[in-house]
């Protein structure tokens, strides 16, 4: 791989953006590299998906721009591989004239975006910036997720039960009746959950636990947070 940077003295920080560029066509790769360079975007170029997978760093703030048609691992297969490895890098597919249906399928399986050749530079750059912003969100969330999971481990089973009902939107009175405890007890559990998870508001709790439930629900052999 070649990391192209206008600032070669400093090593690339994990949280500064990097564009991974994969295309088997020398000229396309070279011209895209020049374009990214002209706008000062750090990037790493690869002539095959395998080469990229070898160098890919999941901790790096990045997005991936890849050709959809390539010998060896195709763009779609690369995306599949990344999904399997739970690598959440946003993908922008570069497609040819007849590849649009293929790209639509790719979108359905979670690709960030696609762009058809030949394209306007600004269109590609806009998509790259959007993808990087998305990656930033994901990275922030993943750091948060790690912390929340650690805190969730501190909850008692009863607290987890109360929390899940709260997240589902049940009122304290209903929870109290269902669990056969007093409303006051539910309020106490609830306060402890907020404290242990360091949540400032009910909205934060609902959003955070909701996301984790979603991830765990999507995971086939997932370790459920509750129940």
């Amino acid at each position: 791989m070649t990391i192209v940077s206008d600032n070669k003295k400093k090593p690339l920080q994990k949280d500064s953006p990097l564009v991974y560029l994969v295309d088997d066509d020398d000229a396309i790769r070279d011209s895209l590299s020049l374009l990214l360079r002209s706008v000062g975007l750090e990037h790493a170029v690869f002539s095959s998906a395998a080469e990229f997978l070898e160098a890919y760093d999941g901790d790096q703030h990045s997005c991936l721009v890849t050709d959809i048609r390539m010998p060896g691992l195709s763009g779609l297969e690369l995306q599949q591989r990344l999904n399997e490895e739970r690598a959440y890098v946003p993908v922008i597919f570069i497609t040819g004239h007849g590849d649009v249906p293929m790209a639509v399928n790719a979108m359905k399986s979670g690709a960030a975006d696609f762009i058809q050749k030949p394209f306007r530079d600004q269109d590609l750059l806009d998509r790259i910036h959007k993808a990087l912003a998305r990656d930033n969100e994901t990275r922030k969330w993943r750091a948060q997720e790690k912390a929340i999971r650690e805190r969730l481990a501190l909850l008692t089973p009863r607290e987890v039960e109360v929390m899940q009902r709260v997240v589902k939107g049940q009122a304290n009175k209903v929870i109290a009746m269902d669990l056969g405890v007093s409303q006051r007890t539910v309020e106490l559990h609830r306060a402890r959950v907020m404290h242990k998870l360091k949540m400032r508001s009910l909205a934060d709790l609902v959003s955070a636990v909701g996301k984790i439930n979603e991830i765990d629900g999507a995971r086939p052999s997932g370790t459920a947070t509750a129940q």
Partner: protein
């Protein structure tokens, strides 16, 4: 047999039965004939039978009878053939006509038995148009497959060129553009343009190499072979196709499939050009004739909008098209094919409005005699 009994018998016949005398006047007109032609017997009895015929039969029928009467050589009598009839409404329709001479009466008379072929012909046309469409798909694949491949091959350097140019623009917009970098970009753009050019060049070579076996061809036969397909294309759009075949044409040396492809491409273009015009009845004319050099000229003329003069020769360039969904390779490939046979493919305006594409192919006979001369010279 009583007269009324005979009439009842005639009227019971499913086919139209018409009897005429030796002057061509109708003497019997049965019930089926009334139904078929839309005339009552009383209206037509005593009238010339050419009333029931469209041109050219209408004006020539008198001549047919006279010729038979003077020479005694039958053309249609005892044979039967498919011709066109004309109803009272003026509508023409296909019929099977068999004619017999009636002997033993005071004067010579002829009986015609007529069957309506409209339904049968319509069914045949449907089948033919289906076959035509199938063949059309096949033809499209040949060129389509190739063009999809080229489209990708051309798109790659084009994308690179676009991206290089856009990057160069961004570099130029900087305070101190890096000149060496820009010079390098220009060189790379140049390289990619040449790469695109090579794709086209390779395509031409491929076409020249492809199935180079040539044979002596009768151009009229080639045109007749593809006429079904042309008609299927044209009739689906309500466009008339007329053909004019030259006599005693020289044979030409070409690959039959390729020549068919070229002609189908031209006629297909003509159909596309006439779609949506008001001149559909003027139709498409395919004509073969002897060229000034002894070769053969095939012209495909349409009455569409023609080719605007600013395009000119460019219509023969690859990827130049006037069609919304065209790739612009048909004429380029066609010209390459024709040129590989030593011929030319040119465009001219149709004086009657529209486009004329002319394929000119040299005579294969010249070729042979030249070769013989060369061989003789080599031996001598």
């Amino acid at each position: 047999m009583a007269m009324s009994e005979l009439q009842a018998l005639l009227d019971a016949a499913v086919d139209a039965i018409i009897v005429i005398d030796d002057r061509g006047a109708i003497t019997t007109f049965n019930a089926a004939a009334e139904r078929l032609f839309g005339y009552a017997a009383a209206e037509v009895l005593g009238k010339p039978v050419d009333l029931l015929m469209p041109e050219p039969y209408h004006s020539e029928h008198r001549g047919y009878i006279d010729r038979y009467l003077s020479t005694g050589e039958p053309r249609i009598i005892g044979v039967g053939r498919e011709v066109l009839g004309r109803r009272a409404s003026g509508e023409t329709f296909p019929i099977a006509l068999s004619v017999g001479e009636v002997h033993g009466t005071s004067c010579r008379s002829f009986v015609g038995i007529i069957r309506d072929l409209s339904a049968q012909k319509a069914a045949e046309m449907r089948t033919r148009s289906l076959e035509g469409r199938l063949a059309h798909v096949g033809r499209f694949d040949l060129m389509g497959e190739m063009t999809a491949g080229i489209a990708h091959e051309i798109n790659q350097p084009l994308s690179a060129i676009a991206t290089y140019a856009q990057a160069a623009r961004r570099i130029l917009e900087r305070d101190q553009p890096a000149m060496t970098m820009l010079i390098d970009v220009c060189r790379k753009i140049d390289e990619q343009a040449l790469r695109a050019g090579r794709v086209i060049e390779n395509l031409r070579k491929f076409i020249r190499k492809q199935d180079v076996r040539t044979e002596s061809l009768d151009v009229n036969a080639v045109v007749k072979d593809i006429l079904n397909l042309v008609n299927a294309d044209a009739h689906a759009e309500g466009i008339r196709v007329t053909t004019k075949y030259g006599n005693n044409l020289a044979t030409v040396r070409a690959n039959e499939i390729q020549l068919q492809q070229v002609l189908l491409n031209l006629t297909r273009n003509a159909v596309d050009a006439m779609r949506g015009t008001l001149n559909k009845d003027l139709g498409i004319e395919i004509e073969t004739q002897r060229g000034s050099d002894g070769g053969v000229q095939i012209t495909v003329a349409d009455h569409g909008p023609g080719v605007s003069s600013h395009l000119g020769e460019a219509i023969f360039h690859p990827f130049v098209t006037t069609k919304l969904e065209g790739l612009g390779v048909g004429l380029a490939i066609s010209r390459t094919i024709v040129q590989s046979c030593g011929g030319t493919l040119n465009y001219r305006d149709n004086p009657a409005g529209g486009a004329v594409f002319a394929v000119h192919l040299p005579s294969a006979e010249d070729d042979d005699s030249e070769r013989q001369q060369e061989e003789a010279a080599a031996e001598g």
